[in-house]
Structures are given as C-alpha cells and as structure tokens.
C-alpha cells in the first residue's frame, strides 16, 4: 500500500477512519461543507490528529525526517496564503531537500509559470498562488499528493489543464487524494470517497458511488449523476 491509515481521528472533526490507497490511484474526496474533508486530508498529511497507524510506503510518517518526508507526501492547503515576497522561482524549489531541476522545469512549462518566475509570490492572485503551490507540490514528485480544493479559484482552462496534470501524475505512480466541490468533475477521478459529519460513508469506484441514492441524499439533491435537481 502507498498510504495506509488506521483509526485516523480528530476530536470533534473526524471519527476514527480507516483508509488505504495503492500506487497511482486518483481519488476524489467529496462531501457537503463542513463534512470533514479538510480534516481528513490534514490528518493524512500528519498535520494534526491521531492515528493508530499512519504509513507511507510501509514506513510510519512521523518517523521520517523532513528531507525524506517532503518527497513522500505533499500537501496543498485550501488557503493559498504566501506571506513573504519570495520570488516564484524560489518558492518552487523551497523544500528541506534539493528538488530535481528537470521536474521544476516541467511544472513551469505545464502550469505556464514562466511569466511569474521573478514576481514576488505574495503579490500574485489567489488562482496564481494556487498554481505555484500545486507546481511546488508536484515538482517534489511525492509518493502521495494531498490536495485541498486544487480546482478552486481556477479559470475553466486551468480546471481542465490541472485535471489533466493530475491524471498524468497518477499515471506516473503518484497517489492523489483531492477534495472537490465541483461534482461535474468526479467522473475524472477513478475512486470516490464520500464524507458526511466527519465520517467516510461511501468509498468505491466513482461511477458507482456517484450514482447511489446515498450520494444525492448527502448533498440534499435528487436524481442521479450528472443531472441532479433540487
């Protein structure tokens, strides 16, 4: 298993949850506002919470030194806040261990960051900062990529482009778990986790989960994918 969590929990936010994913899985994490998506991702990233077991490639996450950890797991927060005027070119390489130049160059090309490279990162728009932080996370070529709303604040062009990029990364072996709000995109994710009130209530192939009555009910919708009604 690429990533394995047993009884991952956070008081008041996340009930004890078991989760495991293999190499190259592209997983969508959906649920209504406040259902615990961010808590689940932060727990998997080892930011907060407790777990009986939290392993990446069979090794406990907390036992990894920062230099190794940065290449095992990368996290994109929902708040794309960058506080200091560090140029974009430096943000892309900001890591406790050296980042492969080739992979930085690739991200600059894919995410069209060339015109931003010399700009201070705290002066960019939210969408631009999102692209820079996503580029940084992908450039580390981590085993597991945890993305909180990677498609928020992006133009339609970038929504499609980033989705392609995630599919490519997953095809290359990276396990990706992304919290999503736009249900129109769940079809692009092979596996779907459905959350409600701090619990994972459904987990399976995306076409199966999205068409269950439970899925629509969780979002207080009627009908089935992709034509829901109120």
């Amino acid at each position: 298993m690429r990533i394995e969590a047993r009884a991952l929990r956070m008081a008041g936010r996340l009930s004890p949850s078991d989760f495991a994913a293999g190499e190259g899985e592209l997983i969508g994490l959906v649920g209504p506002n406040g259902s615990g998506k961010t808590s689940f991702l932060r727990g998997l990233a080892g930011i907060t919470g407790e777990a009986d077991r939290l392993c990446i490639d069979g090794e406990p996450l907390c036992s990894l030194p920062p230099a190794a950890r940065a290449h095992r797991i990368a996290y994109l927060p929902a708040s794309r806040l960058l506080e200091w005027p560090i140029p974009v070119s430096r943000v892309l390489r900001l890591s406790p261990s050296p980042v492969e130049e080739d992979s930085v160059e690739r991200m600059v090309a894919h995410l069209e960051l060339e015109p931003l490279l010399d700009r201070p990162s705290n002066a960019l728009s939210t969408g631009e900062r999102g692209r820079v932080l996503l580029g940084r996370a992908l450039a580390l070529e981590p085993s597991v990529l945890l993305l909180d709303e990677p498609l928020a604040n992006l133009d339609p062009y970038w929504v499609l482009k980033v989705t392609d990029l995630l599919e490519d990364a997953a095809a290359g072996g990276t396990t990706i778990i992304a919290a999503l709000h736009d249900l129109a995109l769940v079809g692009r994710f092979g596996r779907l986790l459905l959350m409600r009130e701090g619990q994972i209530i459904a987990d399976g192939k995306s076409e199966k989960v999205a068409n269950e009555p439970l899925f629509a009910a969780t979002f207080r919708l009627h009908g089935a994918a992709p034509s829901w009604t109120l």
Partner: protein, 316 residues
Amino acid sequence: MKQGLAFAALMALALMHLLWPLDVFARVDGEVAELILLELRAPRTLLAISYGAALGITGAALQAIFANPLASPDITGASSGAAFGAVGMAHVVGFTAPLAMAAGGAFGAGGALLLLFLIAGRGADPARLLLAGLAIALAAGAATSLLLALAPSPYAFYDMWRWLMGSLVERSWTQAIAALVPAALACLWIWKDRMAFDLMALGGDVAASMGVDPARLARRTMVLSAVAIGACVSVAGAIGFVGLIAPIAARSLMKGHPGKAIGLAGMLGAFTLVAADILVRFAPEGRPIPVGVITALVGTPLFVMILLSLRPRSVA
C-alpha cells in the same frame, strides 16, 4: 557572499568602535591606554555587537513566526517587558547580580510576547499587532517608571532614561558577558531553525506536512527571543528600531526568505548598533546621549516608510 561582505564590514566598524577616538591613547601612558582599551572600550564594543546581533536575529525570527514584517522586540513590547522584568528583579526582588537581572529581563520579555501572541497571533492584521504591542510597551514602560520611582534608592529614578532609551556606556566585563552568553546561545538556537522559518513561508499546514511543528516552533522562538532580549536589555536598557529595520533589510537582500535572512539580520543589526554607538560619541562633553535616541531618530522615518509600503492584507 552577502553574508561575508556584511561580516567584513561589521569587523571593520567594530575595530573603529574599539579604537576611535585614537588621540586618547596618545595623551596617556601605555598602562592607562591598555586599561582604557581592555576595561572600558572592549566590553562596550562586545556589548554593542551582541546586543545589535540579538536584536537583528530575534527581530527576524519574531517576524517569521508572527508572519508580520512589523513584529520586532520593540514593537511587540518585548524590550519594554524585559526592562520591567530586570528593574523588578533589581528593585523589588532585590537581586542585582547581572545574571539574576538577565533572568528577570527574560521573564519580562517572555510575558510581553506571550500576551501579544494571545492578542494578535500569527497572521493577525498588522494594525492589531501594532496597537497591541504599543499597549504592552506603554504599560511596561509605565510600570518600570513606577518601580524606579518607588525604589528604595533615591537615585534609581534617574536611571529611567537608561532603561527606556538604552545606553552602552560604562558597562563592565561581567555585564557584557551576562548579555553576550545567553544572547549568543539563544540566537544560535534560533539560527538553527532557519530552514523551518523558510518552510513556514509556505503556510503553517504545508510546513507541518514536512514535519515542522508550527506551534512548537513559535513557542521555542518566543522563549529564545525572550532570553536573548532579556539578557541584553537587563544590561543596556531597551534600544528600539534596530530589531525592526535590520531583519527587513536582510530579507530584501535574501530574496524575501525569512529564514535565510536570519544570519544576515544579525550582522546588519550589530552593524547598525555599533554605528549608532560611534555616533553618540560626537555629543558635547558631559552631555551623554543614550544610543537608543540615535536608533529611534534614524529608525522612525524608516518605520513610517515600511508602514506606507505595506499592502492591505489580501484574504485568500
């Protein structure tokens, strides 16, 4: 490279601080000259370097953990708190040994930082941080004045300007070392965390995903800053603006990295304080000017410029 240049400039200026004015040595015989150099000048030079470096390093670290370019030992109220703690240790508790006063200073500075963090923590609006720091600094300054006014020694009150504006004159080796050793140890420890401060620039959660513990880093930084500032203030009083300006200059030379700038901020802070302490020697005979007056006079216009350059915080 930049750090090497800064270090060379600092050493040259420190040598000037130590030797200048030279004509004193021509007027006295060798033994007295040696005494002046080793017992008067050398501790003062050492104190100026350590205090200035401590201001630069703690300023840079506090700015990094508060995610705010205005956080510094003076603006946060830490320096005023340290003066209050040191004065309280000397005049209320009654311990006047340099190390006891340094400890008092550390407690005072730590209390001020803790209070500020509770009122205006990481990422708070700069205005909130400024006003909270101002309130803490004013309260601590008034409390210091009160302690000095009520102190058993009738002369204590006249020490007030020294505590509130800072001065490096007539300090002994013991005092210089009481400031240097705690400040150096605390600053080295802060410097060791420089990578973590840079990772925090990506946001607390991203840093935490790479194994940094943001809460623990903030706590450690505040305690270490309190130790360094407390020790320096207990010997030389509260000196303003160096801890604000040096880190900002260092970051602009280090491409905005809050962590990588820490070492350079220390050198620029030491350079600034040594230069200011050379300037006060131009005062008329018998009219000593506290060095803090010079740093405040030079620092306030720069401070206003920084305020004007701050963009309204974008909300993401």
